[in-house]
Symmetry: C2
Subunit: 149 residues, 2 copies
């Protein structure tokens, strides 16, 4: 499927953090990365996922995601040089669900908000804690964040 | 799982080909290849598979295989630069199942036999049509055959 996603920094982290409940711990690594594609393994709570992403347009990429056995996901994670850790929360923003990623480990202090859209031109009303948009900034791709670890 | 597999050329192709029935057409390509690992997408009959292989020992590699929707496998195949085509037959050899790959397209004329073992030291009684063993010859890895296309 095609995934259309806008990504933002947070300008009032304390306001946002107070709203967050029931996060899912995520550990993820990249088995393969090339310029325009990646193969990611993720453990989220007690589930495992293998995800292929294609495309250089950071707003809209083609994604194929498959749930895989938890134990195999852990084994695949152990094949990755670097593993990124974050806790993901979901909160409503207007008619959308906003995914908040609170990073830990070496990226402690970084928080990113992602809003998935059904159409790239769709407008969203942003809450006050939303900061600078970084959708088109490749530094905030998880695959690049992890390479900085 | 760890896959232990011995691979052979065929010295009497006509004797072998006469025995083959009910083959499955396979189209496969590689989404990612690095020295010691690969990510393959395969369409086999009406099914799709995504397969990760790790390891440099050509006799014994670690493999993770996931069935994926047929349509998505076709879409992923279209992301591959090169696609290999072969028909796979299974015939019994002693207590084992032998997979016979009859290649078509640019590799027309090539036939390979693969026998999966539960233990690397296991002995197998080979039929007369089995030729030179190429288990340790990297030229006969599908990922390398495809690069020669």
């Amino acid at each position: 499927m095609i995934e259309i996603e806008r990504k933002f920094l947070i300008k009032e982290p304390n306001v946002l953090l107070a709203k967050l409940i029931n996060g899912n711990q995520i550990r993820q690594g990249y088995l393969f990365t090339e310029n325009a594609k990646s193969c990611r393994v993720r453990v989220k709570g007690a589930k495992g996922f293998l995800t292929l992403k294609f495309g250089t347009d950071l707003l809209s990429r083609t994604e194929f995601e498959y749930e895989i056995p938890f134990e195999e996901a852990c084994e695949l994670l152990s094949q990755c040089d670097k593993v990124l850790q974050k806790t993901r929360y979901e909160i409503p923003v207007g008619h959308h669900v906003c995914e908040i990623d609170v990073f830990s480990g070496a990226l402690d202090g970084l928080i990113l908000a992602e809003i998935e859209l059904s159409d790239a031109a769709e407008t969203i009303e942003l809450p006050s804690w939303v900061g600078e948009e970084v959708t088109h900034d490749p530094r905030y791709l998880n695959v690049n964040l992890i390479n900085g670890l």
